[in-house]
């Protein structure tokens, strides 16, 4: 990896962190409506995974999607504009926090019914298999999604048809407020992949380089025809499930311990110890991110609301 690449990963993770912090503020100011699920703490997972894809590889995820949106290449201003429901938002103000997609970037959303996008991911991969495209579909979902039927139907079908999918479980320890041992028959989520005869691995989801390395290897095996594979990334969300979560289900001490395993802090140490970048390089990136966020907020604030006469646009494709 070149220095530029190391720094780009750092840039993306810091950008996501600052975006989410700002989104929480905007929510408190009443500028963001609906639900808001922050990605703080999990930045290394999506950043590492998506940095390993080629442009032909498709990405699809669940509702905690702002980080995936940024990593997929959506400008932060269009994410913030969507959070504010503006016409310039990535989904034109129709989708909000949970439903962001830009198919020109091969990013297919942003799906908010837990697990329901898992069969869709199998279908995206089926499309590439049918057309003979050498593409891999990367499907991210939480630990909670592995307890719903869609997951099992989707994984089964992907194996029966040998579809090119990398299944990525972001195990952040809780499905809303229910911990993995209280909700899942097995706490090592990847064991579920064994039941479908699927190659599987676990990776430290707080280590962006480890995530990237695992994803790179698995994606290339899938591209070479291995069939679907399963990666469990062990991570933690530092904030509540969504805004207004009283967090009665976990102790502050537990959160504090995980915060010491901060993926951004971990990466800073690696960059320094591996001599990939200096403190000054990182400071420069943080400054750049602050500017990007400020600019994005200005863009979102100055963007128009969707016109009321566009209410019925895109219910159907006009034929």
């Amino acid at each position: 990896m070149q220095k530029k690449e190391y720094l780009e990963l750092y840039h993306q993770m810091v950008l996501i962190r600052r975006l989410e912090e700002k989104a929480a503020e905007l929510y408190q100011d009443g500028k963001v409506g609906g639900f808001l699920h922050l990605y703080i703490g999990q930045e290394a997972v999506s950043t590492g995974i998506i940095s390993a894809r080629k442009p032909i590889d498709r990405v699809i995820t669940a509702y905690r999607d702002h980080g995936v949106a940024i990593n997929s290449g959506i400008p932060v201003k269009r994410v913030l504009a969507e959070l504010e429901g503006k016409a310039t938002g990535v989904s034109g103000g129709r989708g909000g926090s949970m439903h962001m997609a830009d198919i020109s970037l091969n990013y297919w959303g942003g799906h908010a019914i837990v697990g329901s996008h898992i069969p869709l991911a199998a279908g995206l991969a089926l499309g590439d298999q049918y057309a003979g495209n050498p593409a891999v579909t990367i499907a991210l979902f939480g630990d909670g999604a592995t307890n719903i039927g869609y997951f099992h139907e989707g994984l089964n079908l992907s194996k029966v048809w040998n579809l090119p999918v990398l299944w990525v479980c972001e195990n952040n320890e809780y499905g809303m407020g229910t911990s993995v041992p209280r909700a899942s028959a097995v706490s090592d989520i990847r064991q579920k992949a064994i039941g479908y005869g699927m190659p599987n691995r676990a990776v430290d989801g707080m280590d962006v380089l480890a995530v990237r390395a695992a994803a790179e290897e698995m994606i290339e095996q899938i591209r070479a025809g291995s069939g679907p594979q399963f990666l469990e990334a062990n991570t933690y969300r530092f904030r509540g499930h969504s805004m207004g979560d009283p967090e009665r289900y976990r102790k502050q001490e537990e959160v504090r311990q995980w915060e010491e395993d901060d993926p951004i802090g971990n990466y800073q140490k690696k960059l320094i110890s591996g001599r990939h970048a200096t403190k000054a390089d990182m400071d420069a990136i943080e400054k750049q991110v602050d500017d990007e966020i400020a600019e994005a907020i200005e863009f979102a604030e100055n963007s128009p609301e969707p016109a009321l006469d566009t209410l019925f646009d895109n219910v159907y494709v006009e034929e």
């Binding site: 034109g92 869709l120 995206l124 159907y316």
Partner: protein
């Protein structure tokens, strides 16, 4: 014109479309090696091969969900759900995804997807396999819901559905596959979302679709022998619902009976009668009557089942009540 069965008409439409466009493929339980549980796709597997005629596991959620995914990539899947009763297992994908993705992502995503399925009772399959829940699906903006009542419409509407860039739920009737009718050969298209007059008349309007079209036409023949000239309007699509031929007919006859196979409560008859009252209240000469299924889960016993299902005699009786 050739007289063929509904089954042959549907099969012909599928075959011709698959010959025309390699992006079209079919998938579902037993559509391939078995030849389709209603024999609609017999011979397809040998002709088109396993890649375009995909047998799936018994996984309705995976069938519809993956068909949506494939449609998003530009393919044109025709996914079969063996009966509409099993579509409840895929409800989330039909309702929360296929009906919404185009809108929710601001027009970026297109779903050229057809979900073929089979509705209706009368085959002694009891409560879980005999339902006619068509109206439920017609509730959702973003979906197109089609249910043909003649072989010609079945062919023409299925071709239109396959060529549409919108998701279409194509509902066939379990007891109409043997129905014969004249069907134009080759490229015959019936537009989606267009109702039509299947039998002209001047005394009363019968509004119906699918299996109940056949019953309504038979009821109209009986009524004709008693001097009542019924006009039969076939909705063909439940969403978008084209009320124009219905209102035109009603303004002429001032009386209407609505016949559907599903339950009356919150059903197609409720919607159509409400719209007639809203759009043509000044033309009403008698309260509109609805003929529908009795409000019970369908029983297995043949006599009980037939007692619960709407019959030709019920339509005849309802027409006489509004006259």
């Amino acid at each position: 014109m050739a007289k063929i069965t509904m089954r042959e008409a549907i099969s012909q439409a599928l075959w011709e479309e698959m010959e025309r466009d390699p992006k079209i493929f079919i998938m579902g339980e037993e559509v391939g090696v078995w030849g389709g549980s209603y024999a609609v796709t017999r011979g397809f597997y040998d002709h088109f091969g396993a890649n375009r005629v995909k047998d799936t596991p018994i996984s309705e959620s995976a069938i519809v969900g993956s068909a949506i995914g494939a449609a998003l990539t530009g393919l044109r899947p025709v996914a079969e759900i063996m009966t509409i009763n099993f579509a409840f297992s895929a409800m989330d994908h039909i309702v929360n995804e296929s009906a919404k993705l185009h809108y929710m992502f601001n027009g970026q995503m297109r779903l050229p997807l057809v979900i073929r399925t089979v509705s209706g009772g009368g085959r002694q399959l009891a409560a879980t396999h005999s339902q006619t829940p068509d109206a439920i699906f017609a509730h959702f903006p973003g979906l197109t819901v089609v249910a043909p009542g003649t072989p010609a419409d079945a062919k023409g509407l299925l071709k239109a559905a396959i060529r549409s860039d919108n998701p279409v739920l194509f509902i066939e009737s379990a007891t109409l596959y043997q129905l014969r009718g004249e069907v134009p050969e080759g490229d015959y298209i019936v537009p989606l979302g267009k109702s039509t007059v299947q039998r002209p008349g001047k005394d009363v309007t019968i509004v119906t679709y699918s299996k109940m079209l056949d019953y309504s036409l038979k009821a109209a023949d009986q009524l004709a022998s008693e001097g009542i000239d019924a006009e039969v309007v076939d909705l063909r699509s439940l969403r978008p619902l084209d009320m124009v031929p219905v209102i035109e007919s009603f303004k002429k006859t001032n009386r209407a009976v609505i016949a559907e196979e599903g339950w009356k409560s919150y059903g197609v008859g409720a919607e159509v009668s409400a719209r007639i009252y809203e759009e043509a209240f000044d033309y009403v000469d008698a309260p509109i009557k609805r003929v529908a299924q009795k409000e019970v889960p369908l029983p297995y016993n043949r006599n009980l089942e037939q007692a619960a299902l709407p019959q030709i005699a019920d339509i005849v009786a309802a027409v006489k009540e509004v006259m």
